[in-house]
Amino acid sequence: MATLVWRIARHGVIMLTIVLLGGFLSATFMRLAPGFDVDEREMDPHLNAASIQAVREEHTQNRNIVRYYAQSLAKALHGDLGTSISLGQPVAALLKERLPLTLRLVALGLGMGWAAALALAMSAACVRLVSYDVASTLLSGLFLCIPAAVLALLSVLWNLPGALAIALIVFPRVYRYARNLLSKAYSLPHVTTARCKGLGELRILFWHVIPVAGPQLLALAGVSVSMAVSAAIPIEALCGLPGVGQLAWQAALSRDLPLLTSIGVLITLVTLLANSSTDVIGQAMGSQKA
């Protein structure tokens, strides 16, 4: 138990360091992007010189990136994530409004993608028919070739849910690894022995295959969260879904430093949480087994 607590604490410290570093890198890259210092409002012919100057001053406050990041962190400790430059609304409120949609989209997409990938991988590993294997590999290869943007546009065109596009992005990547892992596990001698002894397929799966392939599948689950979160950005932007992905897209285009830094931190946090959770679960399972 003490070891588990120690592991969780160690993961926590590593996560915090990476999140802080991720936020700083997001802010730095944004600061270095061309056009960081300008605002479209400068082009408004109605604004007089004083108003244009005021618009420029809003941006000059963020020029020193180290100072900006230190100030932002200090504010963030009090729950203030700053105000979006392009939308003029508090970043915390924007994230709070949009996060549920993205989480739902990613969770549904992951669920559907994993269900399809595992079902196909298990049946391919069990059936062990060359034609079935080729057909399923071709199907996953097909979806692997289609860019996320095209899947998003197709889902718009056919009025399909955005989660399906995420599922179709996750599915081929998970399928290829899962099939290899399960095939390897099914070809192990003790599985062959179990089959020869007449054990049922379900018992073989849960007692002899999953325990072997489980830790790697868990690691794959952590990675697939990053895939789904990354895919959510173009999908939300193209499908017009008002989630954090769409917000990230708008923030990048409008060089909205406070918003993009917070989204960068959020995405880093979600990715790390997913990976660390799978690590901790995997290690816990391993130690239980031992």
Binding site: P34, G35, V38, R41, I52, V156, N159, P242
Partner: protein, 547 residues
């Protein structure tokens, strides 16, 4: 009356009553109108509005004293029954409509107008609408003589003063709070009922709206308007085709043709809009470009030759599929009063362009134009990435100029990078961009034409005018801004337009047509060229029930 006649009379009466009820039901309307906003509204505070989405919401929810009729371009009384501008154009006196109420039921009075003007003119607000009124230093004063009578006094003359009130939505002196501007209260036909960031804005009819139709029925007819926040034009088009949206504003010419091929009755081309597309050369003295290029760009003959060598008809035909008109000058002919009708179309004359360049010391060498020092005449033309029309125009310009030996490199940049080069680093040679015109009055473009202005794009923030013609434009713009006689103002601004066409600091290319689409369910629509094209008469629109 025989029994037969009696029966016929009853049938006719019944039919008439039925028809009347049907018409009445249609006129009474109800129902929900749906269309897209292309960006998130940045503010619901009508005095801080600057983006298109917020302008649309202000138009639908705000009450103004004077309205520019989007069809006739004439001024019409709204919350002000009448008004009078003083001869020196420094003060305006309003007689306000009585019995008008805000959406919370509170009465509208002169106090609200005074509060609105004081807030609008607060320098700390940095309101684009307020800045347009700021022609001199000093405070704006308001004098209330009765609850329905008041005068606003400006520190300096404001040309076109009454017309500018079209943009001033009156806010309540007792209930308006900047931080909760979304809650109003409102004086316009609709009120904001719900705002889902990133998703939609729902407007509901204002039960206290003061206008009635000719039959005395209360306006607006619609129950609500649902504005989908949808930046993606493809999805907007898809929603329209599925019947999920009923209007499309500023339709792309590609989509216009697609829709026209399927249902021509749904699309509307109102003719040339106020918007222009233009290119210009960098004339900034400190720009980090070679001196010999600066010399070309500062040469009027060079700019005029480039202008003559561009085939504007082709731009309209190829890029906009005929839904654009060659631009004649700074203002589109769609601006009925201010357009200078003496301006002639720029004829495509590549041979004449080449001759005039040769007269300036340029010469052709193996198909490449060279200047008198032997430098190849080549420049990069920047435009914003993702705008297929500008990218298309840039490619056609490249081909046109190649015919006179000028090599053009087309470069596309994302908008912030482009603005940075244009306004801060001046690291560019030529830019192709557009100007979206909402105002009809040239005063709205003071910050473009004055040589000292920030938005004098080809050479901004000049301490003193660097050329005689820019000095002349400065003088004329200031003269028109301080003149009160519209004819005199027009005379001054006509001369500005002529100088711009002679000197070509902006090479005006085309004026896009105002294209729109409206569902057959929408009744009473009459798309116009001015913003907001399709819903300028939103209070009189109705939605027929779909079968």
């Amino acid at each position: 009356m025989t029994r037969c006649q009696n029966f016929s009379f009853r049938v006719l009466l019944g039919a008439a009553l039925g028809l009347s009820a049907a018409i009445s039901a249609l006129a009474q309307g109800g129902g929900q109108l749906r269309f897209c906003l292309h960006t998130e509204p940045k503010t619901f505070d009508p005095l801080q509005v600057e983006d298109d989405a917020s302008v649309s919401i202000r138009y639908l929810t705000g009450g103004v004293l004077i309205r520019v009729n989007r069809q006739t371009q004439a001024l019409e009384p709204e919350l002000a029954e009448s008004w009078k501008v003083s001869k020196d154009a420094r003060q305006i006196t309003f007689k306000l409509r009585s019995g008008v109420r805000f959406s919370d039921g509170s009465p509208f009075t002169a106090e609200d107008v005074a509060f609105t003007m004081q807030r609008l003119m607060d320098p700390a607000l940095h309101s684009p609408t307020g800045d347009a009124f700021r022609t001199g230093s000093g405070k704006v004063q308001t004098r209330i003589t009765s609850p329905t009578q008041m005068t606003i006094v400006f520190p300096a003359p404001v040309a076109g003063l009454d017309r500018m009130f079209d943009q001033v939505a009156i806010v309540s002196s007792h209930a308006f709070r900047q931080e909760s501007a979304v809650n109003g209260p409102f004086l316009g036909p609709f009120v904001v009922a719900e705002y889902k960031p990133g998703s939609s804005v729902l407007l509901r009819r204002n039960a206290y709206y003061w206008k009635t139709d000719a039959q005395g029925r209360k306006l607006p007819y619609l129950d609500s308007i649902l504005l989908d926040i949808q930046p993606n034009r493809d999805i907007e088009m898809l929603h329209f085709r599925r019947g999920e949206d009923e209007l499309i504003n500023a339709l792309d010419s590609d989509y216009f043709d697609k829709l026209a091929s399927m249902s021509p009755e749904l699309v509307h081309d109102a003719g040339a809009s106020l918007d222009s597309e233009q290119m210009w050369f960098n004339q900034v003295a400190k720009a980090p470009i070679p001196d010999y290029k600066k010399a070309w760009f500062r040469s009027t003959a060079f700019r005029r030759a480039i202008s003559e060598a561009i085939n504007r008809e082709d731009l309209c035909r190829v890029v906009f599929h005929g839904h654009a008109q060659p631009a004649l000058g700074p203002f589109s002919p769609a601006n009925k009063f201010w357009f200078d009708s003496k301006l002639k179309p720029q004829t495509y004359m590549p041979d004449a362009a080449l001759k005039s360049l040769q007269a300036e010391g340029f010469h052709l060498d193996n198909g490449t134009l060279k200047d008198s020092h032997g430098n190849d005449v080549a420049f990069s033309l920047i435009t914003n990435a993702g705008n297929k029309y500008r990218e298309g125009m840039a490619v056609l310009i490249q081909q046109d100029l190649q015919k006179i030996g000028v090599h053009v490199n087309v470069v596309t940049l994302d908008f912030p990078s482009l603005i940075e080069r244009m306004t801060q680093t001046f690291d560019y040679e030529a830019i192709l961009l557009g100007l979206t015109n909402v105002d009809l009055d040239p005063n709205a473009e003071m910050n473009v034409w004055l040589s000292s202005a920030e938005n004098h794009q080809w050479n901004p923030q000049q301490k003193t005018p660097e050329t005689a013609w820019e000095a002349e434009i400065d003088r004329l713009m200031r003269a028109q801004a301080s003149a009160s006689d519209p004819r005199k103002r027009k005379e001054y601004f006509d001369r500005v337009q002529e100088i711009v066409v002679e000197q070509q600091p902006f090479i005006f290319l085309i004026n896009k047509d105002a294209l729109s689409a409206s569902s057959s369910l929408v009744k009473g629509e009459n798309p116009v060229i001015l913003h907001p094209q399709t819903f300028w008469n939103a209070e009189r629109l109705t939605i027929a029930k779909a079968n």
